[in-house]
Symmetry: C2
Subunit: 690 residues, 2 copies
């Protein structure tokens, strides 16, 4: 079976066998757009006509507005078709909040294109049962209601596709209505077994349906994962006696794999590994002049040694790269490459395909610029001179790396290339290999970031690094978890090689701890750029990036020594990834709820997953309480909506701090003390009551 | 010309002649949904695939999200096609708020189906001019930028469809770039005349467009009007000496027309005028037993005298009705009829078309009911037994009255009939006569109310009567003016024959004044049910409707006496309708803004219309400050965003109270004193500064 549903009656547990009666339009032909039973605003929403997204294991809420005129009862079905074409049928529940919205949740467990549609129908038995119960109580219309019920039950009992036991049950129920009587009417109208039979196989009339909609389901790593970024050239680089530096290689970098895997990361993202241009190469700290031995920015791609399909000779050979990818796999790490579609002036494209760049009237090729700023080590591509040729080449480059076992690409500055190019490229690559995942480095305006996600990117960097206050985080996390979660998946990187926020610069060790705890628990995908463990928090003055940026030089880091000295955050990162793996509630994007605290620096949220979806038979609930002030101790009271995890207000429950092991008895109002210099964050597991 | 635009440069004043260059997809064929210049989320929105709505004279905001990759400049056009097929082109302005949304406003001046689409394009001259100005300032790339500019200007000067003067201008500008120089580059790049030429006729490359969208434009009365409801049988009813009552007639009711017209109303809505059934007729105060002479509810339609196409004999003949409609027209009043699609047991349909009702197993026809409540004087129609037959009959009934000069229908309980029936009926009627307006009495859940508007109703009753606090009114008025204004037009009735809210029951005369002032100014359509002037505020105990409800009896009212004694609110209603007519800002739905006051009972809003749209050459701004507490005097400070009407914070401006004539000098922070027992509301006109 392809899907599990929550909140469904037993009879729907094997929904594939349930026929929908009269679901097609029964009264079409009047030229109206609206069906006999109106259906509006289906969710997941399909952004701008593109498919909605999910990942395997994701619990997806399906909902729609459905109503009919007057007081008669309706039912709403979701019909799901998995990528193999197998159909299942799921009954939705009314939200009962005046919104006329009906909803269910399904755990999606298979990659590929799913189809879904909603079907609304008049539920003739429910209409009768409601009226019959009320009228029996008032002792009016007994004769008529019994006659109506007998007709309904008898006709349902004659349906060939009902199980024999059910047909017997319904036939017997019909008989109980003769002779007519208020007691018999009440009994049949409120009989649970009869109701169950009709919930599973309703007498559905006047059906309408939406068109089929598409849900593109990616593999699990598109939706759940912990990322680690490093520069392979730094890992194993050696400073020679003469002061020059020997670059790290894939072979030396492979020695760092156990360390990264040991922290529990899933994806290892490498900045570009291609040959680096020498023309106008940038020096340390982004200076225009290089000194001998400066390795250059890996984003200035291409030299006489090759372009986007080549490997920097100092890193090794294609064979070395393959070995590195295999070694990573053995450690449980999947390698992600950077896809930075731009060229150094020395890239082979420049001579072979000058039409892929912009040539100025003086015959030179235009540098990248944001006037008056110039980036003279980079030629941007011009996608309009030869769209077909340039598209084919980019597809070739991506498929080259796919051929070498790379299934994840972190795309540099996608918002500087045409949106439709990405839509096309991602579709082409995924048609060849649906497992390929693209992460958009879309640090740009909201409409652009969302559009990149809508047209196909499986993941997006987000504004997370710049959301540091409680109000900012509540707004941001609420938005990515609810508003845009049908198509955009944020990857909560805590830092990048380009971003060192003021919060991290000035918040000390506490800031690093706080941000890691939030990123790891608030969304199912998070990321760390190497050096975060070591609290590398000195910025180039006046900037929001590290001084001595690794983009322009080699970095030497003493991972083991720092950990031995107790200076490293590696143990925290390791614990956070352990907690993530152990708690299915943390592996979902849409299930966050915010709670009140009396302190504006104390953020409180919970992530909850119903027992139906955890795979353990028990619900999973995590409560995170974070002191966002990295400079002080905060004592306050938190106020929880405990009903989310099935605890009535005022009742007690046990929580265990997964970072410290402390256990407390909590209720819906609780005192907390969070010390920035000791334990600034609680990550609490709600313990099952015995 | 079919449309006026605001905020547009002079060159766009006659946009019909402006060609769009390369607006079609230039790089289609890659299978992507996104155009080369992405366009998303057009507004007006088309709800559920139905046309968006406007009315003649409405100033409609058109907007769309549009961006391109990188830093190059884009332009966005709106292409409008009026119902006759005449096209105009309008340049949009970027909102500059990070939303990537572009916007313009157009005053729509013609009824019928308009088409609109948005076109995004690379604006090659703007891209050059921006880079040229920046580089000239920095004195870099002068030679190249001059050469690029010369090419652009020369090619534009050669375009045959540019006016000769413009071609001369551009040719001269090209020459100024030879020899190249920073001063010449700055001069050409920042030349207003050159910029104007390119704003009007851009060098547009890489164009993309949305599909054509539909805007259904109704006549003005669909969007702007003051409604008055009465029971014609009460107007001129006479109590005989023996205590029996002689019904009013169309002839006697016509005597009330000058009074209604004199108060400035536009629409006179009559409750059903058809024969009333006698079977199970309801008595006074909705009792099940009638006394001799009880006239019955006009909603129990149909008797031996006829059904929905007949006139109650006591009101007069069809000829009398025609005369009444003509007399109303002479007074500037348009007559609206009630369309209540249900039947009394005595309706001719019951015998001629029993299949249009629900027959029970005992052979009887089902009464209306909401179990266990029964409405035994009413048979509801069953739209599913013979949808084609019943639809045809309803269309015949409506067109019968259209033939007698009725172009407005107030539809009773539309949410108890199939939504698709209304979609079909309204489309059919409007195809025959686009001037017919349907008002939905949709006092139901939000999704249903909105769906009725989306599928075709030109106006809707709303939740206005139940929104009485400041927070409620801000939320409600903001929602109907902005969220749903593309398809739903609220008619702010202050009371109806079914609704007498607690606020009116217990708020005395002040409550009646306050609610009338808000309803008349906050939205362009409002309504009053006869008796409001007389503060008829006694409810049937435990209900939200008048005691001795006019639905079940005749009402005798002394309009002139009450006014002479100074007891009537007629002078206030008259003044409110005068103010509405004099102020175009009050004739728009979407232009409301809320302002702060320090008192939670003092509501502040403004309605503003730019000078381009008022027809007077001057902007029109009304500020309403209402004390919502009908029991006390409130003194507080209001805080205004005066920039809406072009006054900088801190500057002073004059306001005139249109109710009292008082004049004050105001700034953005002002003291107000509003006495519930004297003048609870300011309706202030912002005076033009000399």
């Amino acid at each position: 079976m392809a899907a599990r549903t929550a909140l469904e009656p037993a009879a729907l547990r094997s929904p594939a066998r349930i026929p929908l009666r009269s679901a097609a339009e029964t009264d079409a032909g009047q030229g109206a757009r609206t069906g006999r039973i109106p259906l509006f605003d289906p969710s997941p929403r399909v952004p701008h006509g593109h498919p909605a997204k999910a990942f395997t294991g994701e619990v997806v809420p399906f909902s729609i507005v459905c109503f009919r005129e007057g007081h008669d009862r309706i039912g709403v079905h979701l019909r799901l078709k998995d990528p193999a074409g197998a159909e299942t049928l799921h009954r939705l529940s009314a939200l009962e909040d005046g919104s006329d919205r009906w909803r269910t949740e399904i755990a999606i467990d298979r990659t590929g294109e799913w189809q879904y549609r909603f079907e609304g129908f008049a539920d003739d038995f429910a209409t009768w049962a409601h009226a019959a119960a009320v009228k029996a109580e008032a002792n009016v219309d007994i004769e008529v209601m019994c006659a109506l019920g007998e007709t309904l039950l008898t006709s349902a009992a004659a349906e060939k596709d009902r199980p024999a036991t059910e047909r017997t049950l319904l036939r017997a129920a019909a008989k109980r209505l003769r002779p007519a009587g208020a007691a018999a009417l009440t009994a049949v109208a409120t009989d649970d077994a009869v109701a169950d039979a009709f919930t599973a196989r309703p007498i559905a009339s006047l059906g309408s349906s939406t068109p089929w909609l598409t849900l593109a389901v990616d593999r699990r790593l598109a939706g759940v994962g912990a990322w680690y970024e490093f520069f392979p050239r730094s890992e194993g680089a050696v400073r020679r006696k003469d002061g020059t530096i020997k670059s790290g290689t894939f072979t030396t970098a492979a020695k760092r794999l156990p360390g990264v895997a040991g922290m529990g990361f899933d994806v290892l993202y490498l900045v570009p590994i291609h040959p680096i241009g020498t023309t106008n190469r940038k020096g340390r700290n982004n200076t225009l002049v290089t000194e001998p031995g400066d390795p250059g920015s890996p984003y200035a791609i291409g030299s006489a040694d090759g372009g986007h399909d080549a490997i920097h000779p100092e890193l090794g050979t294609e064979k070395d790269f393959r070995a590195f990818v295999r070694a990573a796999q053995k450690q449980g790490l999947e390698v992600a490459l950077d896809l930075a579609l731009q060229a150094s002036p020395d890239h082979p494209w420049v001579t072979e395909h000058p039409e892929w760049f912009t040539t100025l009237p003086d015959g030179t090729i235009a540098y990248a610029e944001n006037p008056p700023k110039k980036y003279q080590d980079i030629y941007p591509l011009n996608f309009d001179n030869d769209p077909a040729g340039i598209s084919a080449e980019m597809l070739r480059v991506v498929m080259h790396w796919v051929g070498l076992g790379v299934k994840i690409f972190r795309v540099d500055n996608p918002h500087t290339k045409p949106l439709r190019f990405w839509e096309w490229l991602i579709a082409e690559v995924n048609a060849a290999d649906p497992d390929v995942i693209f992460l958009a480095e879309a640090f740009t305006r909201p409409a652009v970031m969302r559009a990149l996600a809508a047209v196909g990117f499986q993941q997006s960097y987000s504004y997370f690094t710049w959301r540091n206050t409680k109000a900012e985080l509540e707004e941001f996390l609420g938005s990515v978890s609810h508003e845009t979660s049908d198509y955009m998946r944020p990857n909560l990187f805590v830092n990048t090689h380009d971003i060192l926020t003021e919060y991290l610069q000035f918040g000390g060790r506490a800031a690093y701890r706080i941000r890691a705890c939030i990123a790891a628990t608030a969304a199912p995908v998070w990321g760390v750029y190497a050096g975060y463990e070591l609290i590398e928090n000195v910025a180039r003055p006046g900037s929001e990036e590290n001084i001595d940026n690794e983009k322009y030089e080699f970095k030497f880091r003493d991972w083991d020594g720092a950990e031995e000295r107790g200076e490293s955050l590696a143990p925290l990162l390791r614990r956070l990834n352990e907690i993530r793996r152990a708690h299915p509630a943390l592996q979902q994007l849409r299930n966050i709820s915010f709670h009140w605290s009396d302190d504006d620096s104390v953020l409180v949220y919970s992530k909850h997953l119903d027992a139906a979806f955890t795979g353990t038979g028990a619900a999973d609930t995590i409560i995170v309480v974070a002191n966002l002030d990295p400079h002080s101790v905060r004592e306050t009271t938190v106020h929880l909506d405990t009903r989310i995890w099935g605890v009535e207000p005022g009742e007690t429950f046990e929580v265990e701090d997964l970072l410290t092991g402390a256990v407390w008895t909590w209720t819906d109002h609780d005192y907390v003390r969070l010390d920035a210099f000791a334990e600034p964050v609680h990550i609490l597991k709600v313990k099952e009551r015995s």
